[in-house]
Protein backbone atom coordinates (compact mmCIF):
# COMPACT_ATOMS: atom_id res chain seq x y z
CA UNK A 1 0.00 0.00 0.00
CA UNK A 2 1.06 3.57 -0.80
CA UNK A 3 0.40 6.31 1.74
CA UNK A 4 0.45 10.04 1.04
CA UNK A 5 1.82 11.87 4.06
CA UNK A 6 1.23 15.61 4.53
CA UNK A 7 3.02 17.80 7.07
CA UNK A 8 1.69 21.19 8.21
CA UNK A 9 2.91 24.25 10.08
CA UNK A 10 5.56 23.62 12.71
CA UNK A 11 5.56 19.91 11.80
CA UNK A 12 6.47 20.64 8.18
CA UNK A 13 9.12 22.99 9.50
CA UNK A 14 10.49 20.21 11.76
CA UNK A 15 10.65 17.46 9.13
CA UNK A 16 11.81 19.85 6.41
CA UNK A 17 9.12 18.98 3.88
CA UNK A 18 5.35 19.17 3.46
CA UNK A 19 4.65 16.02 1.45
CA UNK A 20 6.02 12.55 0.79
CA UNK A 21 4.75 9.07 -0.13
CA UNK A 22 5.49 5.91 1.82
CA UNK A 23 5.32 2.36 0.54
CA UNK A 24 4.06 0.10 3.34
CA UNK A 25 4.55 -3.66 2.89
CA UNK A 26 1.65 -4.63 5.18
CA UNK A 27 -1.46 -3.19 6.90
CA UNK A 28 -0.95 -1.14 10.04
CA UNK A 29 -2.85 1.01 12.56
CA UNK A 30 -2.58 4.76 13.07
CA UNK A 31 -0.62 4.09 16.27
CA UNK A 32 1.88 1.89 14.45
CA UNK A 33 2.27 4.48 11.72
CA UNK A 34 2.84 7.18 14.34
CA UNK A 35 5.62 5.07 15.91
CA UNK A 36 7.33 4.76 12.52
CA UNK A 37 7.06 8.51 11.94
CA UNK A 38 8.65 9.25 15.34
CA UNK A 39 11.44 6.81 14.49
CA UNK A 40 12.16 8.41 11.13
CA UNK A 41 11.81 11.99 12.47
CA UNK A 42 13.01 12.17 16.10
CA UNK A 43 12.27 15.92 16.06
CA UNK A 44 8.56 15.03 16.21
CA UNK A 45 8.96 13.66 19.74
CA UNK A 46 9.12 17.22 21.06
CA UNK A 47 6.22 18.54 19.01
CA UNK A 48 2.51 18.24 19.61
CA UNK A 49 0.53 16.89 16.69
CA UNK A 50 -2.59 14.92 15.81
CA UNK A 51 -2.90 12.39 13.02
CA UNK A 52 -5.67 12.71 10.42
CA UNK A 53 -6.49 9.80 8.12
CA UNK A 54 -8.46 10.72 5.01
CA UNK A 55 -9.45 14.12 6.55
CA UNK A 56 -10.66 12.64 9.87
CA UNK A 57 -8.79 12.75 13.17
CA UNK A 58 -7.72 9.18 13.92
CA UNK A 59 -7.21 7.38 17.21
CA UNK A 60 -4.35 4.93 17.54
CA UNK A 61 -6.41 1.79 16.95
CA UNK A 62 -7.70 2.89 13.54
CA UNK A 63 -6.56 0.59 10.70
CA UNK A 64 -5.05 2.67 7.90
CA UNK A 65 -6.88 2.00 4.61
CA UNK A 66 -4.79 1.44 1.47
CA UNK A 67 -3.91 4.64 -0.45
CA UNK A 68 -4.84 6.71 2.60
CA UNK A 69 -4.02 10.39 2.88
CA UNK A 70 -2.29 10.92 6.21
CA UNK A 71 -1.80 14.39 7.73
CA UNK A 72 0.29 15.44 10.72
CA UNK A 73 -1.50 18.42 12.24
CA UNK A 74 0.14 20.74 14.78
CA UNK A 75 -2.05 22.71 17.26
CA UNK A 76 -4.81 24.67 15.58
CA UNK A 77 -4.61 28.46 15.42
CA UNK A 78 -7.72 29.59 13.56
CA UNK A 79 -9.48 32.79 14.52
Amino acid sequence: MTLSILYFGMIAEGVGQSFETWQMPEPLTAGQLKAQLLEKYPVLRDRKFQLAVNHQLADEALPIPPQAEIALLPPFAGG
Binding site: F8, G9, A52, H55, F76, A77, G78
Partner: protein, 148 residues
Protein backbone atom coordinates in the same frame (compact mmCIF):
# COMPACT_ATOMS: atom_id res chain seq x y z
CA UNK B 1 -24.81 15.44 7.01
CA UNK B 2 -26.87 17.20 4.38
CA UNK B 3 -26.09 17.11 0.70
CA UNK B 4 -25.46 20.87 0.50
CA UNK B 5 -22.11 21.62 -1.05
CA UNK B 6 -19.63 23.23 1.34
CA UNK B 7 -19.59 27.03 1.13
CA UNK B 8 -16.37 28.85 0.41
CA UNK B 9 -14.80 29.99 3.69
CA UNK B 10 -11.18 30.86 2.91
CA UNK B 11 -10.23 34.26 1.56
CA UNK B 12 -6.74 35.36 0.59
CA UNK B 13 -5.31 37.95 3.02
CA UNK B 14 -7.26 40.19 5.43
CA UNK B 15 -11.04 40.55 5.50
CA UNK B 16 -11.90 44.19 4.79
CA UNK B 17 -14.54 46.30 6.57
CA UNK B 18 -16.11 46.89 3.13
CA UNK B 19 -16.55 43.13 2.67
CA UNK B 20 -18.33 43.02 6.04
CA UNK B 21 -20.69 45.89 5.19
CA UNK B 22 -21.49 44.26 1.83
CA UNK B 23 -22.45 41.09 3.68
CA UNK B 24 -24.68 43.06 6.04
CA UNK B 25 -26.32 44.97 3.16
CA UNK B 26 -27.13 41.70 1.37
CA UNK B 27 -29.34 40.69 4.31
CA UNK B 28 -31.59 43.74 4.23
CA UNK B 29 -33.94 42.09 1.75
CA UNK B 30 -34.46 39.16 4.15
CA UNK B 31 -37.34 40.65 6.09
CA UNK B 32 -37.83 37.68 8.42
CA UNK B 33 -34.52 38.57 10.09
CA UNK B 34 -34.71 40.59 13.32
CA UNK B 35 -31.21 40.12 14.73
CA UNK B 36 -27.66 39.69 13.47
CA UNK B 37 -24.58 38.87 15.53
CA UNK B 38 -21.06 39.19 14.18
CA UNK B 39 -17.69 38.10 15.50
CA UNK B 40 -14.44 39.50 14.13
CA UNK B 41 -10.98 38.21 14.99
CA UNK B 42 -8.33 40.92 14.69
CA UNK B 43 -4.54 40.44 14.81
CA UNK B 44 -3.06 41.74 18.08
CA UNK B 45 0.42 43.28 18.41
CA UNK B 46 1.38 40.96 21.25
CA UNK B 47 4.82 41.32 22.80
CA UNK B 48 6.73 38.03 22.53
CA UNK B 49 10.29 37.19 23.61
CA UNK B 50 11.71 37.67 20.11
CA UNK B 51 9.74 40.83 19.32
CA UNK B 52 6.30 42.29 18.72
CA UNK B 53 3.83 40.41 16.50
CA UNK B 54 3.56 42.27 13.17
CA UNK B 55 1.20 39.83 11.48
CA UNK B 56 0.12 36.21 11.21
CA UNK B 57 0.75 34.04 8.16
CA UNK B 58 -2.15 31.56 8.05
CA UNK B 59 -2.09 28.19 6.34
CA UNK B 60 -4.55 25.31 6.46
CA UNK B 61 -5.22 21.76 5.42
CA UNK B 62 -7.94 23.01 3.11
CA UNK B 63 -9.62 19.72 2.11
CA UNK B 64 -10.11 18.76 5.75
CA UNK B 65 -10.86 22.33 6.93
CA UNK B 66 -13.71 22.77 4.45
CA UNK B 67 -15.24 19.53 5.72
CA UNK B 68 -14.99 20.62 9.35
CA UNK B 69 -16.46 24.06 8.56
CA UNK B 70 -19.33 22.27 6.84
CA UNK B 71 -19.94 20.09 9.92
CA UNK B 72 -19.91 23.15 12.18
CA UNK B 73 -22.45 24.88 9.91
CA UNK B 74 -24.77 21.87 9.88
CA UNK B 75 -24.54 21.44 13.65
CA UNK B 76 -25.25 25.14 14.27
CA UNK B 77 -28.31 25.12 11.98
CA UNK B 78 -29.52 22.03 13.86
CA UNK B 79 -29.00 23.51 17.34
CA UNK B 80 -30.14 27.11 16.82
CA UNK B 81 -33.02 28.85 15.02
CA UNK B 82 -30.94 30.59 12.37
CA UNK B 83 -31.95 32.23 9.09
CA UNK B 84 -28.40 32.64 7.76
CA UNK B 85 -24.83 31.83 8.68
CA UNK B 86 -21.60 32.94 7.04
CA UNK B 87 -18.03 32.12 8.01
CA UNK B 88 -14.91 33.61 6.42
CA UNK B 89 -11.29 32.97 7.42
CA UNK B 90 -8.09 34.39 5.99
CA UNK B 91 -5.22 32.45 4.47
CA UNK B 92 -1.78 33.99 3.91
CA UNK B 93 -0.50 37.11 5.62
CA UNK B 94 -2.79 39.20 7.82
CA UNK B 95 -1.01 42.24 9.29
CA UNK B 96 -1.61 43.50 12.82
CA UNK B 97 -4.91 45.39 13.18
CA UNK B 98 -6.51 43.55 10.28
CA UNK B 99 -9.31 40.99 10.45
CA UNK B 100 -8.73 37.24 9.92
CA UNK B 101 -12.06 35.73 11.02
CA UNK B 102 -15.62 36.91 10.26
CA UNK B 103 -18.57 34.94 11.63
CA UNK B 104 -22.05 36.28 10.82
CA UNK B 105 -25.31 34.74 12.07
CA UNK B 106 -28.89 35.95 11.58
CA UNK B 107 -32.20 34.92 13.10
CA UNK B 108 -35.74 36.23 13.56
CA UNK B 109 -34.86 36.72 17.27
CA UNK B 110 -31.80 37.79 19.24
CA UNK B 111 -31.26 34.81 21.56
CA UNK B 112 -30.21 32.25 18.91
CA UNK B 113 -27.72 34.72 17.47
CA UNK B 114 -25.83 35.09 20.77
CA UNK B 115 -25.70 31.35 21.36
CA UNK B 116 -24.79 30.41 17.80
CA UNK B 117 -22.08 33.08 17.54
CA UNK B 118 -20.22 31.78 20.58
CA UNK B 119 -20.71 28.12 19.60
CA UNK B 120 -19.38 28.62 16.08
CA UNK B 121 -16.32 30.65 17.13
CA UNK B 122 -15.36 28.10 19.81
CA UNK B 123 -15.81 25.20 17.38
CA UNK B 124 -13.65 26.89 14.75
CA UNK B 125 -10.87 27.58 17.25
CA UNK B 126 -10.91 23.97 18.53
CA UNK B 127 -11.57 21.86 15.44
CA UNK B 128 -10.49 23.45 12.16
CA UNK B 129 -6.98 22.58 10.90
CA UNK B 130 -5.71 26.13 10.45
CA UNK B 131 -2.14 27.04 11.40
CA UNK B 132 -0.69 30.44 12.18
CA UNK B 133 2.87 31.67 12.02
CA UNK B 134 3.28 34.83 14.10
CA UNK B 135 5.83 37.14 12.53
CA UNK B 136 7.91 38.89 15.20
CA UNK B 137 9.71 42.23 14.94
CA UNK B 138 11.61 42.81 11.71
CA UNK B 139 14.40 40.28 12.24
CA UNK B 140 12.58 37.47 10.41
CA UNK B 141 11.83 35.70 13.72
CA UNK B 142 8.55 33.86 14.12
CA UNK B 143 6.56 31.69 16.52
CA UNK B 144 3.75 29.21 15.93
CA UNK B 145 0.41 30.29 17.33
CA UNK B 146 -1.63 27.83 19.39
CA UNK B 147 -5.28 28.35 20.37
CA UNK B 148 -6.15 28.04 24.04
Amino acid sequence: MSSKTPKKVFVEGPISPAFISDSIAKHQSKTNIGAHAIFLGQIRADQKEEGVVTGIDYSAYPEMAEGVFHQIREAAFEKFELSCMHIYHSLGLVPVGEISLFVFVSSPHRRPTFEALEYIVEEIKAKVPIFGKELLGDSGAFAWKENS
